[in-house]
């Protein structure tokens, strides 16, 4: 089986600071990858390389058998990207925005309307389809953003902290959407700091630290070697075993 994503010896540095240091991984259809790591570990950089936002890197990246450098447009067509910082043209209405995105993927206006109405209705946004988004809350914008990333039925979906700002019901809907999409054979690349969600949603977890993969496997496998929750595993593998001590320092600041 060809892997959906195949990264071989990926290096990336800004100036003399190495951000990614020899990353290699293969991801297969139907998998949900939980991609985790401390702040500044290189998660976002990996995602940006995958989605074509950062074109210069060392190593090779192939997606569905196509080389990222040689076929950037074909690859972008297969990827759905839901970025972390909710950048959106918020003077537009959700419908206008999604029509715009749809046209960039050559979808017909009717298809876009049908899909958008159905998808946003699932998130409870049916009544605000034609209102400008500048009055929307963070969660509402996030719902539109998620829809805009899935609109063209991508086979690889890259999600960067997709649940931020969502209300509890929407979180349940979104988790369900993710596992359904995986069951249909799509590949999900899920970056998050919410360990409890990653633990439940992903069937394979990759932990990176300082630009290297330091753990790779199903949650059950990781549990055998380290702690009992993903939080503990995370702390142990990233070398922060004395977090209680850090908390002590924080609280003790009152006394000095």
């Amino acid at each position: 089986m060809t892997p959906t994503v195949s990264i071989q010896h990926l290096f990336k540095s800004y100036g003399d600071k190495a951000v990614l240091n020899d990353i290699s991984l293969d991801v297969f259809p139907g998998q949900i990858i939980g991609y985790i790591g401390p702040n500044g570990a290189g998660k976002s950089t990996t995602v940006k390389i995958l989605t074509g936002l950062i074109p210069d890197f060392e190593g090779s990246v192939t997606i569905n058998g196509l080389d990222l450098r040689e076929h950037p447009l074909e690859i972008k067509r297969m990827i759905g990207y839901i970025p972390e910082n909710a950048e959106i043209y918020d003077v537009l209405t959700p419908m206008e925005y999604l029509q715009f995105i749809g046209r960039l993927y050559d979808l017909s206006a009717d298809t876009v309307r049908e899909r958008a109405e159905q998808m946003l209705a699932a998130f409870g946004l049916k009544d605000v389809l034609d209102q400008r988004m500048d009055t929307f809350s963070k969660g509402m914008k996030q719902k539109v953003l998620i829809t805009s990333g899935l609109l063209h039925n991508p086979s690889l979906i890259v999600l960067d902290e997709p649940l931020s700002g969502l209300d509890a019901n929407a979180v349940i809907v979104m988790k369900e959407i993710m596992s359904r999409l995986a069951r249909e054979g799509k590949t999900l690349f899920y970056c998050s700091h919410m360990m409890d969600v990653v633990e439940k949603v992903s069937d394979r977890i990759m932990l990176i630290n300082r630009g290297r993969i330091i753990a790779d496997g199903a949650f059950e496998e990781l549990r055998k070697n380290s702690g009992d929750s993903l939080e503990k595993i995370f702390a142990q593998l990233t070398g922060e075993t004395n977090l209680e001590g850090e908390a002590d320092k924080f609280v003790n600041a009152f006394e000095s």
Partner: protein
């Protein structure tokens, strides 16, 4: 109108396809960009009015109409001078200054929309389509300003000189536009070269401040200076310091092409400069500036995300304002208000954009009133007789408008929501914070400015105006406090700039402007009608003003939570 423009632009589909551009995507991007332009508040002209309507629908129509009106205003120069060379030079001077200002503030939004990097770049759109969309967007934007702005001039010129003159005029406008594009590109590039990407928008903000002062000055003083110019010499060609100015080249080009024979050699040289230099400038832009510009802009997006190591701006600890704060404030709450107003006013781009120019406007107004007058007295003469007048009183009281502007803008901020901290913290008397903030405005902005004004006054009128300046300072201080007491019952930087001002507040605003006017008039009466005892009277009034200032200060400092709430209900 957008539909029409879009259809016009998309008429060349075949051409775009030949260049490797995806026409469908191009149309989609342009359509969205034009829609967004319509909904974005305009920068240059719309900045000072509070936004009446919350929903902005046809912002571009506003731009078109404003440009058209400005185009009519420029016709003034054709009536001012019968000499076409002079008239055209002044016309193009205004035309180019205005065009550059509009573009420089709008280009920040158009070109530096970092969102594009997140929204369009991950989609299957090729680089040529993106580049073409950007170029066409700029072109459409440019036409929406240039075409209506030149229209009145074009009509006038074609009536006066017929079709050939009108065609030459169009050529001149095209060249003028090229020069403006070059100037803006150069400015942007220099800024990007000397600074980091993070500071770019700050510096553009400074450029905008400088430019809005320039516009204001040109509008008030330009016609008067121009009239003076025409009064002194018959043609602009008699002023050598105008030779390096592109507007003169363009005027010369028009003149030379219209009447090719029998002109003086100098004019031929200027015309040649006008014909050759603008295309050369554009060549430089395309060849050298644009590529590195795009590279820099590319870096703009990735730098902003925090992926690249970015150097944060570090701030000195224990900065000098702390010791100032210690000297002029009483109690911890008051100095908190002082500190926050001092710090935020220096870093809020919006505040600077609105307040800094008003300090310059004071001087512009002053010179406007000094030099105004229909009588045929030259500016030099007026200047020489200035020290015999009481104009310094005008200067003193005009400067109170700068103080009022600083105080009334102190409450507005885009990040107004952050002001929740005041409400959750145990502040007993909010008036202390407000007083501290007003003191910060006084110490940070007004006193240095007033010192400058004083030096100017001493230079013109001599040391004899010292009592007047002292009285003026005390008066402006209590104007500021009164203004604060009546209108600023709100924490610094705690209100959205988009709120609507009620009619009651409008009348209040008029009253506040009337107070300095009345006091200034009284001051003037004392000086002009009672010369023998006026100095004594001035000192007497200074003492009275100090007492008044002290009373208002004490009352303002006691503003309670209840009063604050009542005021915000009226807001």
């Amino acid at each position: 109108m957008n539909k029409l423009i879009l259809r016009l632009v998309m008429a060349f589909k075949g051409l775009y396809r030949g260049m490797g551009v995806d026409a469908g995507q191009l149309e989609a991007i342009l359509q969205v960009k034009l829609t967004m332009d319509d909904r974005r508040p305009r920068n240059v002209f719309g900045r000072n009015q509070p936004q009446r309507k919350k929903v902005i629908r046809n912002a571009t129509l506003g731009t078109v109409i404003t440009s058209l009106v400005l185009g009519c205003v420029y016709l003034y120069f054709f009536f001012l001078s019968q000499d076409y060379l002079t008239a055209f030079t002044l016309y193009f001077l205004m035309f180019m200054v205005m065009l550059s200002i509009t573009l420089i503030s709008d280009f920040t939004d158009v070109l530096i929309d970092v969102k594009d990097n997140y929204i369009i770049l991950p989609r299957p759109v090729n680089a040529r389509t993106i580049l073409m969309a950007r170029l066409l967007h700029i072109l459409i934007h440019l036409c929406r300003i240039v075409v209506p702005m030149m229209l009145p001039g074009l009509v006038y010129v074609s009536i006066q000189t017929g079709v050939p003159g009108a065609l030459l005029f169009c050529l001149d406008v095209a060249l003028a536009t090229l020069v403006c594009i070059f100037a803006i590109n150069a400015v942007y590039l220099v800024i990007l070269r000397v600074t980091t990407v993070e500071r770019f928008k700050d510096i553009i903000g400074v450029v905008q401040i400088l430019f809005s002062i320039l516009v204001f000055a040109t509008y008030y003083l330009g016609p008067r200076l121009a009239a003076n110019l025409v009064l002194a010499k018959s043609s602009i060609i008699g002023h050598p310091w105008f030779y390096p100015a592109p507007p003169l080249w363009l005027a010369a080009l028009w003149e030379v092409l219209r009447h090719p024979a029998g002109q003086i050699p100098l004019l031929y040289m200027l015309a040649a400069a006008g014909a050759i230099l603008p295309p050369l400038c554009i060549w430089v832009v395309i060849r050298f500036l644009a590529p590195s510009f795009d590279r820099k802009l590319g870096g703009l997006g990735s730098g902003g995300s925090g992926a690249a190591p970015s150097k944060g701006r570090s701030v000195r600890r224990g900065a000098s304002y702390r010791s100032v704060s210690h000297w002029v404030t009483r109690g911890n709450t008051e100095s908190t208000g002082f500190d926050i107003a001092w710090l935020l006013s220096g870093r809020s781009r919006d505040f600077k954009l609105k307040v800094y120019p008003s300090f310059a406007y004071v001087l512009v107004y002053f010179f406007y009133y000094v030099f105004i007058g229909k009588d045929k007295v030259s500016i030099a003469d007026k200047w020489n007789h200035l020290n015999e007048t009481h104009m310094y009183i005008l200067l003193i009281y005009f400067s109170s408008f700068a103080m009022i502007s600083a105080i009334s803008n102190l409450v507005y901020s885009d990040k107004y929501k952050a002001s929740w901290v005041y409400y959750v913290s145990p502040v007993k008397v909010p008036g202390e914070i407000l007083v501290g903030a007003v003191k910060a405005m006084l110490v940070k902005y007004f006193i240095p400015f007033y010192a400058m004004v004083s030096i100017l006054a001493f230079y013109i009128w001599g040391i004899g105006v010292l009592p007047d300046l002292v009285l003026g300072l005390v008066n402006v201080t209590w104007f500021g406090l009164l203004m604060g007491f009546m209108r600023l019952k709100k924490f610094p930087f705690s209100a959205t700039p988009n709120i609507q001002a009620g009619s009651g507040r409008f009348i209040q605003g008029l009253l506040i402007i009337a107070v300095p006017g009345l006091v200034g008039f009284g001051h003037y009466l004392i000086r002009s009608t009672l010369p023998s005892i006026s100095t004594w009277l001035i000192w007497l009034f200074t003492v009275l003003s100090v007492i008044l200032a002290w009373l208002i200060y004490g009352r303002y400092r006691e503003v309670s939570w209840a009063e604050l709430e009542k005021a915000s209900a009226e807001f």
